[in-house]
């Protein structure tokens, strides 16, 4: 941003409409990567309730009344969490598929089809996310 005058939207992401496939793939991959690492931290945090649970009475554990089980159940009963999970799946699936695409690109395979493979990743992600909805939303108590 060192322009001695304002070049308007030429210099920034305001031109998103003109981005090409490879650029979108890059942006989405970044975004999904960040979401995933963010999730990894939260995920471990939630799982950490197991530490307390481990010290609980065996009977409590057997009765599924330990903190860990309770926490998971409480979370899983919330619709938002379920929906977020579908989102997470979509994010993960896209990151994986595009990750595979990038790995292939690194190996020099299919570079001519890089835009098509990106669109394919997007479509597949959509399909998988939709298909997973029944599984993910199963047993939700409203």
């Amino acid at each position: 941003m060192s322009q001695s005058y304002n070049r308007g939207r030429i210099e920034d992401f305001g031109r998103w409409r003109e981005f090409s496939a490879g650029m979108w793939a890059w942006i989405f991959h970044k975004f999904t990567g960040w979401v995933l690492i963010g999730y990894l931290f939260t995920h471990i945090a939630v799982l950490s309730t197991a530490l307390t649970a481990a010290n609980a009475d065996p009977s409590t554990i057997a009765a599924h009344n330990d903190v860990y089980t309770q926490t998971i159940r409480a979370l899983e009963s919330l619709l938002v969490v379920r929906i977020l999970e579908v989102g997470l799946l979509a994010v993960a699936v896209f990151h994986i598929l595009n990750g595979i695409r990038l790995l292939l690109v690194d190996l020099g395979i299919g570079l001519e089809a890089q835009d098509r493979s990106f669109y394919a990743s997007l479509v597949l992600t959509g399909v998988i996310a939709v298909a997973s909805v029944p599984t993910f939303l199963a047993g939700v108590t409203f």
């Binding site: 970044k30 990567g33 960040w34 995933l36 690492i37 990894l40 931290f41 471990i44 945090a45 799982l47 950490s48 197991a50 530490l51 649970a53 481990a54 554990i61 057997a62 599924h64 330990d66 860990y68 089980t69 998971i72 159940r73 899983e76 009963s77 999970e85 799946l89 993960a92 994986i96 990750g99 595979i100 990038l102 790995l103 690194d106 997973s132 599984t135 993910f136 199963a138 047993g139 939700v140």
Partner: protein, 126 residues
Amino acid sequence: MAERYSSFEKGGRRWLLQRVTAAFLIVVLAFHFFLLHFVNHANEVTFQMSAGRMQQWIYYSLMVLFLITATFHGVNGVYNALVNMGLTGARKRAMKAALSVASLLLIVQGLRTANAWAGIDLLPII
């Protein structure tokens, strides 16, 4: 030879590791999702079942490796992204340190959790 080796430090090694971990993660992450959302429903997860799985050493090692690779992959990815955005000098070094500490904490905490399930308590600091 030595200087050639060292030139690899400049980014080539991390670049390669990012790809290798990615390849590994494809498999493990798929397995993980499959196991915990499709085979066993997430809402049916209990401490007992988790503990049961963790007590198998193969599963335990796989999950530990999963944790380490995912952390490396994710944190290294974030670091690369920051560097690519033009982070340099002191701020870059600070970021590197912060990210290293964060990953260390994440891994330690993850290990403790895994140990809690597996009933191991040699490593942990508690």
